[in-house]
């Protein structure tokens, strides 16, 4: 079994750090401390972190923070970032207004 999915793993207690109030996800204004705490709350995958905190769910869709969040979570779990599966990619790939998404274009031919 994938090691990072082992929920019984002891990652130690949350230790506050001086840069915990630094914003990581700018669109949703999520701080480094919130992300680190989320790992200690049991969110061991990027998909869970995203659902729990909404990191990468804002306007830029994680274009800026995805790699940063990955690094923070990996460090908290004491694993390499490459071991973390990226969050699911799904439609729409870019932010889009609901009225546009619901507006099916007419056939061109």
């Amino acid at each position: 079994m994938n090691q990072i999915n082992d929920r019984s793993r002891d990652i130690g207690a949350f230790v506050p750090a001086p840069d915990d109030d630094m914003i990581i996800c700018r669109c949703e204004e999520i701080t480094k401390g919130e992300i680190r705490k989320a790992v200690h709350d049991g969110m061991f995958t990027l998909t869970e972190i995203r659902r729990y905190l909404r990191t990468g769910m804002g306007l830029c869709q994680g274009q800026t923070c995805a790699k940063l969040v990955k690094g923070i979570v990996a460090r908290e779990l004491n694993i390499s970032p490459a071991q973390l599966e990226p969050a699911t990619s799904r439609v729409p790939m870019r932010p889009i207004e609901m009225h546009v998404l619901a507006n099916e274009g007419k056939e061109d031919e």
């Binding site: 990619s89 889009i96 507006n103």
Partner: protein, 525 residues
């Protein structure tokens, strides 16, 4: 649902190149791009490209972009702009937002050429207005004609950081420092040298501690880091700046491929999440191809070749050519791509410490640490010789794939040979006429014409100069050394700008003879 033989996502260098090859072979091809202009990053590249003739070397990036667009137009490629691909579904169904509606297209083959996005780093104050990506700075300057700031600190010494620093200088900004946490300059030495000689200090093994300011950036503090990238207390340095530019790498924008179900891998050597693919861009899904940075971060010249390969592979996949014809077509491209992937900066050499050039000459340590070749190191390179009268001095000290200087000289004074990564050498017995074609042809601005016996007690030095306003003949100023510090007084005795130089102006300055091998830049007094 509208059907195409081939749908390409991304109208950058690789996407357009793929489209050209496919359309030429009769595939009904469409390219979608979310931007309002095609060309991707090419139109932000105002410097001359490296490589050899087949890689369009010494042509400026945006001109290559114009050529590519013309080629695509002639081949009958349909390019749809302001068209955002929001999904790639099963059976190659591509969903595109165009205007206020969502359209569905079916491609018998799909090429994803979405490129990459810029990485960010965090430090105290990184979200302040004034902290921008190097790509953003390029977009502001070169697409929109907007100066990003007045005093800029650049973080990142890779080619992007170096090239953009130079562009910031050209745009009239003051670049106060070029900073990198790595112990060595990451990009081409020639790019570093042309920035260093203008007086920009390099701080390797340094990174940003914090950006200062309440509402926007007003300053920055950097500090030295140890081999574990931890700050060394007491090494802090402060700069007054209004802009901090980040050039800390790129990540492939590969989400569409992941969504489509391609087998993916996390490959740090290729920049992060990339699809598993073969050398011609075939992914694990039949008929889905990739090209360019999305499949691994490289640069525009190789992206264009990869694009052509993917276009040809897609044509074969759909039966527009047989395998034999494909192999024939790909062989030349293989060779071209291989040529670009040679030398010290080849993908296979990433992360390696290279001590000597292919010629066996120790590489300049000073270049890697401070961005310029030290005066005592320069004489050991084959392009640097002494002669009576005017002669070229080529300060090209690393094996990079580039050879325009060899063909530029009408007198065949410069020899690189068939291996394009070899260091240029002066052909013995050849006679330089001082035309300056080599100076203007060097994409790295590393060639100078030196006449050590120009006048009694004086030497003349011709330098490439891409700044405005141009100095005028007779004007006096300071000659700067490779490190950007003043070495002596200089008088401008020649300013040459002809169409063949393609906007690289040639300044000739007169300096006391003893500074002939030291003075390498001119600054108005």
């Amino acid at each position: 649902m509208k059907r195409y033989d081939l749908i390409i996502v991304g109208a950058g260098p690789s996407g357009l190149s793929a489209a050209v090859e496919a359309a030429k072979r009769g595939l009904k091809t469409v390219v979608f791009d979310e931007n309002e202009k095609p060309g991707g990053q090419l139109f932000k590249q105002i410097h001359k490209f490296f490589g050899s003739k087949e890689h369009k070397a010494k042509i400026r990036g945006f001109v290559i972009g114009e050529q590519l667009l013309k080629e695509a137009d002639e081949a009958g490629v349909e390019v749809v702009l302001n068209a955002t691909v929001i999904g790639l579904y099963q059976d190659k169904e591509v969903v595109v937002r165009i205007g206020e509606a969502v359209h569905h297209y079916k491609g018998d083959a799909v090429i994803i050429a979405t490129g990459a996005s810029e990485n960010m780093v965090t430090f105290e104050g990184w979200t302040l207005p004034g902290v921008i990506g190097a790509g953003a700075a390029q977009t502001m300057m070169n697409l929109h004609g907007v100066k990003p700031g007045n005093k800029v600190l650049m973080l990142g010494s890779g080619n992007v950081g170096l090239v953009v620093s130079f562009q910031l200088l050209q745009c009239g900004c003051e670049v106060v420092a070029l900073v990198d946490a790595a112990p060595k300059v990451g990009g081409y030495g020639v790019h570093a040298a042309k920035v260093a000689r203008t007086g920009v200090p390099f701080y390797l093994s340094h990174t940003i501690v914090k950006a200062e300011g309440e509402e926007c950036v007003t300053g920055v503090t950097i500090a030295e880091v140890d081999s574990h990238f931890r700050f060394i207390p007491g090494t802090e340095k402060h700069f007054d700046v209004d802009t901090i530019c980040l050039a800390v790498g790129l990540s492939p924008m590969s989400q569409l491929l992941k969504m489509a179900g391609c087998e993916m891998e996390d490959n740090p050597k290729r920049g992060g999440q990339v699809p598993v693919c073969d050398e011609y861009g075939r992914t694990s899904l039949a008929g889905v191809f990739v090209a360019g940075d999305v499949s691994g971060i490289e640069e525009a010249s190789s992206a264009m070749i990869e694009g052509r390969m993917a276009g040809i592979a897609a044509a074969e996949y759909l039966g527009y050519m047989d395998k034999e014809e494909m192999d024939r077509n790909l062989a030349d491209l293989d060779q071209a791509l291989d040529g670009l992937r040679q030398g010290m900066f080849a993908p296979k050499n990433r992360g390696k410490d290279i001590e000597t050039t292919d010629e066996g000459i120790p590489v300049s340590k000073n270049l890697l640490k401070h961005g310029f070749v030290a005066d005592e190191e320069i004489e050991r390179f084959p392009g640097v010789t002494h002669a009576k009268g005017i002669h070229p001095v080529m300060e090209c000290t690393q094996n990079i794939p580039c050879n325009p200087c060899q063909d530029a000289c009408p007198k065949h004074c410069i020899r690189i040979g068939s291996n394009i990564t070899a260091l240029p050498a002066v052909e013995e017995g050849s006679e330089c006429v001082g035309c300056g074609m080599c100076v203007a042809s060097c994409s790295g601005q590393a060639i100078f014409l030196v006449d050590e016996t120009y006048e009694e007690g004086y030497a003349s030095i011709t330098i490439p100069y891409e700044f405005l306003p141009l100095p005028v003949v007779g004007e006096k100023g300071d000659a700067l050394g490779r490190d950007g510090s003043r070495v002596c007084e200089a008088q401008i005795i020649g300013v040459k700008s002809i169409p063949a130089f393609d906007k690289t102006n040639l300044l000739t300055m007169k300096v006391p003879a003893e500074y002939a091998m030291r003075a390498r830049f001119y600054k108005k007094g």
